[in-house]
């Protein structure tokens, strides 16, 4: 056989297709946690082909003439399934989508809701304008066909702080920061449920690619003091008491920071800093080692620059 460029390319293409053949079906199973409020749980895992990037939690709320979504998932394909699920649950079309922050696992499905008002804080809109293309590259690389047709949407509507009636439903919007430069917390007044986005993780280790740990710590204190009953974290199970998940997130952040500083002080390199023992009290946190190693990548070079003395003066 003569090896032409075409047969060579054909042979190379055949392998990935065979290996990656899988059904691209998102299974969305809402659970009602209050009157007219359902949560959809993401997989408590990294973004990977096995889960299609559906790793974040989101909330569906029934309004008078429309359904409301707080976050909407990772891809156009996911958004289309979610749209049908929300309509079936509430009997109404999705009229409002609020994005808690810039990360693609929470908001890249927004393109599926062209007839709804997609809203975020002014800061989130700015963040998305700056970062969405880069995140899209990453999501397509990790997820391939799951992402087909997905284009990041910068929210057209702006959310500001305060209480507002949305489709007849009273919601309290609290723009904050810490997990990212702009995090939005939404509290549903009727049920007392706080939808915390990625400011709160629960039994799943917090991720820190855009985090400011000092700000995050302060924000968690504010959240704990804000009036609410149950709490939906960005990742991990619903917290009916509303305080345990906040305390756990704070505990991890405190430990993470002291662990990283301790590793720098002990002269460990980044690999070793990602391999330190994780305290037993975090045994129940999924993806703990994975997130620790990511956090080492996010913070370690800066911490070394801060903590190492100059040697050339």
């Amino acid at each position: 056989m003569r090896l032409t460029r075409r047969t060579l390319l054909g042979g190379m293409a055949a392998l990935p297709v065979a290996v990656r053949a899988q059904s691209l079906d998102y299974r969305i199973e809402p659970v009602e946690v209050g009157d007219g409020l359902w949560i959809v749980r993401g997989a408590d895992a990294p973004i990977e082909r096995g889960n299609g990037g559906a790793i974040a939690n989101l909330a569906i709320l029934a309004g008078d003439e429309a359904a409301i979504l707080i976050d909407c998932g990772p891809s156009l394909r996911y958004g289309r399934v979610l749209d049908a699920v929300a309509r079936k649950l509430t009997g109404k079309p999705v009229g409002h989508v609020f994005l808690t922050h810039l990360h693609p696992d929470h908001g890249f499905a927004a393109g599926a809701f062209a007839n709804a008002e997609v809203a975020g804080t002014a800061e989130v809109r700015r963040e998305l304008q700056a970062t969405a293309a880069g995140y899209a590259d990453g999501m397509y690389r990790l997820l391939g066909d799951w992402m087909r047709g997905t284009e990041p949407v910068v929210p057209a509507a702006t959310v500001t702080a305060g209480e507002r009636l949305v489709a007849g439903r009273r919601l309290v919007f609290a723009p904050m920061a810490g997990h990212s430069p702009a995090d939005l917390v939404v509290t549903d007044v009727a049920t007392g449920t706080m939808i915390a986005g990625d400011l709160v993780f629960h039994d799943r280790a917090p991720s820190t690619p855009d985090a400011d740990l000092a700000t995050w710590r302060k924000t968690l204190g504010t959240l704990a003091a804000m009036s609410h009953k149950g709490l939906l974290p960005g990742h991990g199970p619903f917290d009916p008491g509303g305080q345990a998940a906040i305390a756990q997130t704070l505990d991890w952040i405190d430990w993470l920071e002291s662990s990283l500083r301790g590793s720098v002080a002990a002269g460990l390199d980044m690999v070793a800093a990602g391999e330190v023992a994780i305290p037993a009290r975090f045994d129940g946190l999924k993806a703990a080692r994975y997130e620790l190693q990511r956090s080492v990548s996010h913070f370690y070079p800066r911490l070394e620059a801060e903590l190492f003395p100059r040697a050339d003066q």
Partner: protein, 249 residues
């Protein structure tokens, strides 16, 4: 003519052990790096890396060859990087251990090749998945524009653990690969570590080492010793730093 090109690597491959990682570049790299020296894949070479490349511009690798006797050189190699070799370290008095951060231009095998005094190369490593562009994206300090203000700054810490010091050295340098438009190759190319007049180790570096090189070494030392780091970049700029060995915190 084509036949000659196709036969040469095949003949070479017969003399080499089969690559457990199945790298398409194994035979080529082996021919250049090891020539006719005996080569074996050897688990005594520990190549430790995170489970994922969170940042393809700054990927940490830690190599420990202390299970091997009489280590002469430790070469860190990413097969599919456009600049495959990152460092070539000769631990003349230091422990045969080194950590460094490298760039990854795509999914690639990352490996350490360790030369022992008997002339044998011992190799181990693993595939690492990575987003593209670690070598062909501009360094952060070039984007920010402040690279020249900090060029050549050295930060260091040496912590005593038993009779050895863990030395961490961080040098501000853009480590330009020459693969980004209008910016020529420019990198730290040589570093050595001294205790008094004794050279404990020397290292050659290439531009696939991450921006602001951060190197970890283990050296024989006592509390109060001063370690000196000397180096040079490809423009002939001298690098020098001194750090006192401290007791562990």
């Amino acid at each position: 003519m084509l036949a000659i090109f196709m036969f040469a690597p095949v003949a070479m491959a017969a003399a080499l052990p089969a690559d457990p990682l199945g790298s398409p570049m194994w035979a080529d790299h082996a021919r250049v790096l090891f020539a006719d020296a005996p080569v074996e894949f050897d688990r005594r070479v520990v190549v430790d890396m995170p489970m994922l490349a969170e940042n393809q511009r700054v990927f940490p690798v830690a190599i420990d060859a202390s299970a091997l006797p009489d280590v002469k050189r430790i070469v860190l190699l990413a097969d599919l990087n456009p600049i495959p070799v990152a460092i070539d370290y000769a631990p003349t008095g230091a422990a045969p251990v080194v950590s460094v951060r490298i760039k990854l231009d795509q999914r690639t095998p990352v490996r350490a090749a360790v030369l022992t005094g008997d002339g044998r190369w011992h190799i181990n490593g693993a595939w690492i998945d990575a987003a593209g562009g670690g070598c062909s994206a501009p360094p952060v300090s070039r984007v920010k524009g402040d690279w020249a203000e900090h060029l050549g700054e050295v930060r260091a810490r040496a912590v005593l653990v038993g009779a050895e010091a863990r030395l961490r050295v961080a040098i501000r340098h853009p480590m330009d690969t020459g693969l980004v438009g209008n910016t020529p190759l420019y990198h730290v190319e040589e570093l050595s570590v001294w205790r008094g007049e004794t050279r404990l180790g020397s290292m050659k570096l290439w531009a696939s080492v991450a921006e602001d090189p951060a190197i970890g070494l283990i050296l024989p030392a006592a509390a109060g010793d001063t370690l000196t780091i000397r180096g040079r970049d490809t423009n002939g700029r001298e690098i020098e730093g001194r750090v006192a060995v401290q007791a562990a915190p």
